[in-house]
């Protein structure tokens, strides 16, 4: 997302709120699909991982034993789609014994009040 695009009023700030663990339900996977589609529309996209959503980013996931297609590698293409605002709630991460070293992609760790402020700046928030 270039500065020129951020200044364009036709470009909307849209934040995806990823609340769910990656394989207990399909919310997280279909949510990621939406992000990739929306990225083609050149909007100012961001993602924030809160609660069990932080598990979605854990690297080296092996889903063979549960018979579900893994998709952690798909997160790696977000950068190619210029979706680079990836936030993680610090409390959610620490409550689950995780650090940024556990994640498959670079993230920006935020406090809850910072995330709340970011949400207020959005044109739309989409919870998955």
């Amino acid at each position: 997302m270039s500065e020129e695009m951020e200044d364009n009023e036709n470009v909307k700030k849209i934040m995806f709120i990823m609340r769910n663990a990656p394989h207990g339900g399909i919310y997280s996977y279909e949510g990621l699909e939406t992000v990739l589609i929306m990225a083609a529309f050149e909007q100012d996209l961001s993602m924030v991982f809160i609660g069990d959503g932080v598990f979605s980013l854990v690297k080296n996931q092996d889903t063979d034993a549960i018979g579900i297609k893994g998709y952690i590698k798909t997160y790696g293409v977000l950068e190619d789609y210029e979706v680079e605002k990836i936030f993680v709630d610090r409390q959610s991460m620490e409550d689950r014994g995780l650090t940024t070293d556990d994640f498959a992609i670079p993230v920006e760790v935020k406090e809850a009040d910072e995330i709340a402020k970011l949400m207020q700046e959005q044109h739309a928030t989409i919870p998955y």
Partner: protein, 118 residues
């Protein structure tokens, strides 16, 4: 105000379909505009025409036909989510259609508010 509506849960098992419908009706009564209703995740099951709910209860599927045909609201089920769940063209209720996630994107951009149920 222009509202866009996203529904993520299937009918009857969860209240999302009911509250979405009631919200849309109330918003229309107040003179607001509904840009589109978009069904995603299990929400796509809302548009199947294979269901026959008991006649002494509300018919959630028929409500979407009412909003689509009588109120002229664009009602869309996501094609990728539909394929996963056995929802397809020719097997959906009148007044609704199946299309892509681009429809979710467009309505999110166009609307003043995106409201998600489910």
């Amino acid at each position: 105000m222009k509202f866009a509506i996203q529904v993520l849960k299937g009918p009857y098992n969860h209240e999302a379909s009911d509250t979405a419908y009631n919200f849309v009706k109330a918003a229309l009564d107040k003179g607001h505009e509904i840009v589109r209703i978009f069904f995603y995740h299990d929400g796509v099951i809302n548009v199947t025409n294979m269901a026959s709910p008991p006649q002494d209860d509300r018919n959630i599927y028929a409500r979407w036909t009412e909003l689509g045909n009588e109120k002229g609201i664009d009602i869309v089920a996501c094609i990728a989510a539909s394929k996963r769940r056995g929802i397809k063209e020719g097997h959906i209720v009148d007044g609704t259609r199946i299309s892509g996630l681009g429809q979710l994107t467009e309505m999110t951009i166009e609307a003043d508010r995106l409201i998600t149920f489910g």
